[in-house]
Symmetry: C3
Subunit: 316 residues, 3 copies
């Protein structure tokens, strides 16, 4: 394992809440020398996909040897593994619902452990019994594994108080639940079916299209047509939202390498009626395209479904 950095990076859907604060407090009670870096607590509730996007595009900025604790866990208290994944440069801890997969895979998975939740909790209890005033008894709740399992596991590993072997049972990496943040179907030479993988606080819509990974040189294209089942919009291609007039739609490669749709000084998700995990069709055009028109380009929804299935070529 890479030399621990004594840094714990926290990602969750807890927002600013006592849940986030308790995770920080538990970590500090386990070891005062750990540094906590809050990465993002604004993951949309119940969306491991959006969580996976954030984990995958943030972890690499942390010092090597950091432990990333990612708690986006709609299935808490039901049967699902709590995982610790050792990769080339980091350790990832979180529920086995896909939230860790794209990040871990991109850094290079070395070993995957299913945490023995009770062992994690009792070692944490032992370590904090003299340092914190923690509730007695501290057992594993059914609803808050961030406090009872994930933050403790992250702190114990980051502080060097426990090895992964002491906290979990190694499992085959293939058993990890997978999600993809860049899965596209190729429908034609420059037409793709993609997924909305993230909507940020400005309403910018990130798609599962990573042009560089697909070998696409975006600068060759002047516009994109974005189609949903009910609408079609031709959108100017730019380099940044400032390339559009205020209120105007613009498409560009975002700072994480994904194709993104924004409205300069506005909210693209609202304007386009797009939600997280929505499926869209994207066509890249070498010219500036037809005049944007909210109604033209509509197709029969079923027909679109059929054509995508018949033409579809999975390229990831």
């Amino acid at each position: 394992m890479v030399e621990p950095s004594k840094v714990v990076g926290l990602i969750s859907d807890f927002g600013d809440s006592p849940y986030t604060g308790i995770m920080r407090a538990v970590i500090k009670s386990i070891s005062r020398e750990l540094q906590i870096i809050d990465i993002d607590h604004s993951i949309p509730s119940f969306s491991p996909l959006a969580g996976a996007y954030v984990v995958a595009h943030t972890y690499q900025w942390l010092p090597k040897g950091s432990v990333i604790v990612a708690v986006v866990d709609p299935g808490v208290g039901t049967s699902r593994y709590a995982l610790a994944v050792e990769t080339e440069n980091y350790v990832f801890i979180g529920p086995d619902n896909g939230v860790l997969y794209p990040a871990a895979a991109s850094d290079g998975i070395k070993r995957v452990y299913a945490l023995r939740e009770k062992d994690v909790n009792s070692l944490a209890r032992m370590k904090t019994s003299s340092t914190a005033g923690t509730v007695k008894p501290w057992s594993i709740s059914r609803t808050f594994h961030g406090r009872d399992v994930f933050a403790p596991a992250g702190a114990l590993i980051a502080a060097g108080h426990a090895s992964l072997e002491e906290l979990g049972d190694e499992i085959e990496p293939e058993r990890m639940k997978r999600t993809s943040i860049d899965h596209v179907e190729k429908l034609g030479p420059s037409t793709f079916r993609a997924t909305v993988v993230y909507i940020d606080k400005f309403g910018n819509v990130a798609l599962s299209i990573r042009p560089k990974k697909l070998g696409i040189n975006l600068s060759l294209y002047k516009s994109v047509v974005l189609r949903t089942h009910t609408t079609s919009n031709t959108i100017k291609m730019g380099k940044t939202f400032g390339d559009a007039n205020p209120g105007e739609l613009v498409a560009y490669e975002n700072s994480f390498g994904h194709l993104e749709i924004a409205v300069n000084r506005g909210n693209a998700a609202k304007k386009l009626g797009l939600e997280l995990e929505a499926r869209v069709e994207i066509e890249l055009l070498e010219n500036s395209g037809p005049v944007p028109n909210g109604s033209r380009g509509m197709r029969n929804a079923d027909l679109l479904g059929v054509s995508s299935r018949s033409l579809g070529e999975t390229i990831w």
Copy 2:
């Protein structure tokens, strides 16, 4: 006093705002070696009750010897004590409006001090005069005691720059304003009148009912009837929100030991029309209850009030 941990835990209703940032900056200007743990800044404005719930269920996860600064202070600038409360393992600092009471009482109150606000402020001014570029003159504003009194007092005590005696006058603990986060009235063998003490960011509704404290074994019950003045809902008892189908109501003991109502992947407070500090009636049923029905079970509001008063037995 317990050995200081050099940790200051912050709780407020300031959200992400310059007010929160200034409190952090003041603490660091008073002593660079202090560690700040943000516990929660999302307390609903003007609700010392919700603040009391959060303080009471978070403080015990901090290292012993930490100072907890809780600023939920709708009465700032009017006459109310600024308190420092020494308990078995911690020091609590905040306004005397009940926000500190349940936490302090549960840890064991040793001494209560009414802060001499001007002494706190001038000592803080002295300590920061060479370290920070703080505004000159720094006096006590009428609207931001988080900056001018509470954060400075917390930092001075946590850093060991001042004793409680130097910053305040000891008062009788009985003079502290009290709130209760687990007050219930017993209306019948398994029927209680309770208060909504907290609504979290998911819309989960925590009630003032702590089953273990009331000697109630929740696993004996299959459902609860929740009645307000205008509605009645029979709700399945579970162990976690995942025990209900998406969109369905479920009741369970939350991770802080309170009876809580949630909607799996939904917002229970909105669905039930419940607000913070609302009064509800809860009946525990050993079977799965009648078919849920939003309209049956309504009672005349006055009659309900009368019956609760006549049947009511305060058990806390």
Copy 3:
């Protein structure tokens, strides 16, 4: 330059988001010994004026020698300087859109540098190449200079890894874009035209009027008349929002020295229909004024404009 404090204060309009988290991670990857103080990430998007207000009223609480990184940058990716401003006690880093100006001017501007963005980025890349798992290649995106330029510059300077000269070219301070958070026009002896410079999370409305700076003794006045183009409200003068009854409007000098309008336990911005950067007319009255009346006091909008231009005397 003042002795570095090893503290980086962060201000942005990124909210709780991966963007904020990545800035923190980049700083820690550049130097583990830096302390990060989150000042405020809730700046309204696209408002350098509100950002300027927050920077100007928070920086002075940080330890001297701190570096303040302020990313409110609607023009990211277009041509605008990235600045580093050395002042008497601090270094300010951010885009050249006015967000830094009032703070820097109030602390005393010593030298202004236009950052050479590529030099900043490559030095940061070098410093993190062995410590972080950062993406390779790390180049300057068009949309996220917080990650690629501002946070790295702040960390490099705060850690002493680079001097301002090594990262930028000195420019004339006069070339900095200016904003004012306390510009008023005097329309009469106690009548002013002012701007809404900030609306806080409680809906309290801060105006560009700083009574002390204008030589005004607010305690001589009993009420203020606030006029917009369509409404007029006579508002009681107080010392704090608690001086009004719940739901009632009140005016007072806020904790940053600005005239502010609030509703006790309510939202003044909503009640008055005021938005950031709105222009209002304020008249201070020595008595309690006429009975508040939402419709009286209206004037013809054009006439008001004319009279302000003819009577207007810029006093800042």
